[in-house]
């Protein structure tokens, strides 16, 4: 294949490959800590531990602690997974391990 211009995250350059893999993983882990932290907060704190306190607050016919335990937490999980998918797509693209880059490299080799 032709000579490719140097790019910051060009993981095809063998020397950078390991370092890039490590950096990708570190970024991935940081993302997981943040998202799982939010997950823990909403699941265990908002919906269980603080539920009695939040029940003093009302939205329409719902008491808030009850609403989080039986509705809110579930909506939050759905949003959380789609945010994760979106952020990981961006991360993959930055490190050129998204499907398009992988496919291109596969063809080139």
């Amino acid at each position: 294949m032709a000579v490719r211009p140097f790019r910051k995250n060009n993981i095809n350059a063998t020397g950078d490959k390991m370092a890039n893999k490590k950096q990708y993983w570190r970024d991935n882990i940081r993302l997981l800590w943040i998202l799982l932290g939010l997950w823990t907060f909403v699941s265990f704190f908002v919906s269980i531990i603080f539920a009695d306190g939040l029940n003093e607050v009302r939205i329409g016919g719902f008491r808030l602690g009850f609403w989080f335990a039986q509705q809110g937490a579930i909506y939050f999980y759905v949003v959380l997974i789609f945010v994760y998918i979106w952020l990981m797509d961006k991360l993959d693209a930055r490190y050129e391990v998204d499907e398009e880059s992988l496919h291109r490299r596969h063809e080139e080799n």
Partner: protein, 562 residues
């Protein structure tokens, strides 16, 4: 048309649909039989995963349980959805990149050990068999109630249908029938929920309806306030208050979440998509489709509770509507007129209470209680069957792969050809259906309890080992085996002691820190993590090729299966 005719019509049509799909998606290779050739679109896999996951328990029992537990019922709602976040973020993408067929495949290869593989096979078989027996029973109950055939005949018909598409198409056939089954079951769950929501509150969206005011004809006022009031009047706890200890609720929720993320029949669904990105996306779709039912269920629960209390509380027995008698005939509603006044006293105090209502009937009876048309009731029967059959098929596939692939191909008879392996897989699924059917007809008394505990056992055995296998390069064979054995032994002994050996002591005063047997899996899981990390520090690191395998599955595309 009569209810009977409607039921035969809807059930017959849905079964015909499943058959047509089965004939169109026959499997010709082990890859197609085990993982549908890894060609399933993420959206289709999301639908299939949702049907795979939502069993007879989700469809039939859950809303009923929530109706009787009030806010504490959230342990099931959150536990069985929150686990998908763990699955999507910590397990599915990496196991997809690993790119094999089964969970024992991963554990055996990652921990370079046939012992670990065997332990995983035994756990997978145990969890799947207990689960599948419950599904077959669900099939029998629906048949006997709505088609008025014998429970055993119902089980045999169900076995026949599953046999047809599971043996023919393996994962490929199961996947596309599950897509159809999701559509049937969600439609069947939503239609009555919307009807009842409109009836009681005038709001067509059940998720909003149960937070709305009731119609004037039902006395007005916020539905949940009315329910709190009625519950307290009869001596029950307020519907929106928690009763169980906070620590116990935390533990049960956590155990159900980690158990969900560790269940083999759910994990293998993510082997069927073409890429890591597709695995992430289909986990998102799956949770979205599951959430539609799981956010409706608590609304159905509140409506059902309201309807039940309105109908029976202090009403004259002779005035009871027809559905009351039909369910009485199945012994799922029992009335005993203790004070002989001919009226139904339904209260919290067991000495005065005269009515026992089985929680499982709430969803099935709800449309009848609300007086909905016959076709809606018939739809619920078809939906219950779709939920039970789709889950049963997924579980049977895990059982068959555990035997033909993990046990025979990867362990006892590595030399067999693909053709022989495929034949073994079909034979294994055939026998698995027979065993499942046997347990459906002769249910051991402890099935219902064991199914609930399957989550605790999965949480305390599989979950930590899979997560550590991905996130710790240093985790080794010794650590994993020691962790699994500690976690599952502790959890199983705690459950056996309180549920079977000394049931008299099974109450909060005797439990460890007030943690019930349902929640102890969370503690077992912590033990598993601790022991695994400790033992692995003092034993040799895993071989280099295993370490580089772990590095590889962390980055998409490093292992390309094709």
């Amino acid at each position: 048309m009569s209810l009977q005719t409607w039921t035969y019509l809807t059930v017959g049509l849905t079964f015909l649909l499943y058959m047509v799909i089965a004939i169109r998606s026959r499997a010709t290779s082990t890859s197609e039989f085990y993982i549908a050739g890894a060609h399933v679109h993420p959206l289709a896999n999301g639908l299939a995963t949702a049907a795979d996951w939502m069993s007879a328990a989700s469809f039939i029992s859950m809303a009923g349980i929530v109706a009787f537990m009030g806010r504490d019922g959230a342990v099931y709602l959150m536990g069985w959805t929150g686990g998908y976040v763990l699955l999507a973020l910590m397990i599915a993408p990496y196991l997809r990149d690993f790119g094999k067929f089964t969970v024992p495949d991963f554990i055996g290869d990652r921990y370079y050990s046939q012992t670990a593989r065997l332990v995983a096979v035994v756990c997978a078989l145990f969890v799947s068999f207990t689960y599948v027996a419950g599904q077959m029973r669900g099939v029998g109950v629906v048949f006997s109630r709505f088609l008025e055939v014998d429970i055993n005949t119902g089980v045999v018909i169900g076995m026949g249908i599953v046999f047809f598409y599971a043996v023919l198409g393996g994962m490929k056939g199961i996947t596309y029938t599950q897509v159809a089954q999701y559509c049937v079951l969600i439609f069947a769950f939503m239609v009555p929920a919307i009807f009842i929501s409109l009836l009681l509150t005038g709001n067509p969206i059940p998720q909003l309806g149960f937070g709305s005011e009731m119609k004037e004809s039902f006395g007005g006022g916020y539905l949940l306030d009315r329910l709190d009031g009625l519950n307290e009047e009869l001596g029950f706890a307020a519907y929106t208050d928690g009763v169980r200890s906070t620590l116990d609720v935390l533990c049960i929720t956590a155990a159900l979440m980690m158990g969900t993320a560790g269940l083999p029949h759910v994990i293998i669904r993510f082997f069927t998509v073409p890429s890591v990105r597709a695995a992430r996306k289909s986990a998102g779709y799956a949770l979205l489709f599951i959430a539609i039912l799981y956010t409706t269920a608590p609304a159905v629960a509140a409506f059902a509770r309201m309807n039940l209390l309105n109908t029976v509380s202090n009403a004259a027995y002779i005035d009871m509507p027809e559905w009351f008698r039909t369910w009485e005939a199945t012994n799922l509603i029992v009335f005993e007129d203790k004070n002989g006044d001919g009226r139904i006293q339904y209260v919290a105090d067991a000495a005065v209470n005269e009515l026992t209502v089985d929680r499982d009937i709430m969803v099935l009876a709800n449309p009848e209680i609300a007086g909905l048309p016959n076709w809606v009731v018939a739809l619920v029967a078809a939906g219950g069957l779709a939920a039970a059959l789709s889950t049963a098929a997924g579980l049977l596939l895990v059982i068959s792969t555990a035997i033909s692939h993990d046990l025979l191909k990867r362990n006892l008879m590595p030399g067999i050809s693909e053709k022989q392996e495929l034949r073994c897989a079909r034979i294994a699924i055939f026998f698995a259906i027979l065993v499942a059917g046997y347990f459906g007809i002769n249910p051991p008394g402890f099935v219902a309890q064991v199914v609930a505990f399957a989550f605790g056992l999965a949480a305390s055995s599989f979950f930590p080992v899979i997560v550590l296998g991905i996130f710790s390069v240093r985790m080794n064979r010794e650590g994993a085996i020691a962790g699994m054995i500690t976690g599952i032994t502790f959890t199983a002994l705690y459950i056996l002691y309180f549920r079977f050996y000394n049931p008299a002591a099974d109450n909060a005063d005797n439990w460890w820190f007030g943690i019930s047997p349902e929640g102890i899996g969370a503690v077992g899981m912590l033990f598993n993590f601790a022991v695994a990390l400790l033992v692995s520090r003092y034993t040799p690191a895993p071989p280099l090729e295993v370490q580089s395998m772990v590095e590889d599955i962390r980055v998409p595309g490093s292992n390309r299966p094709d």
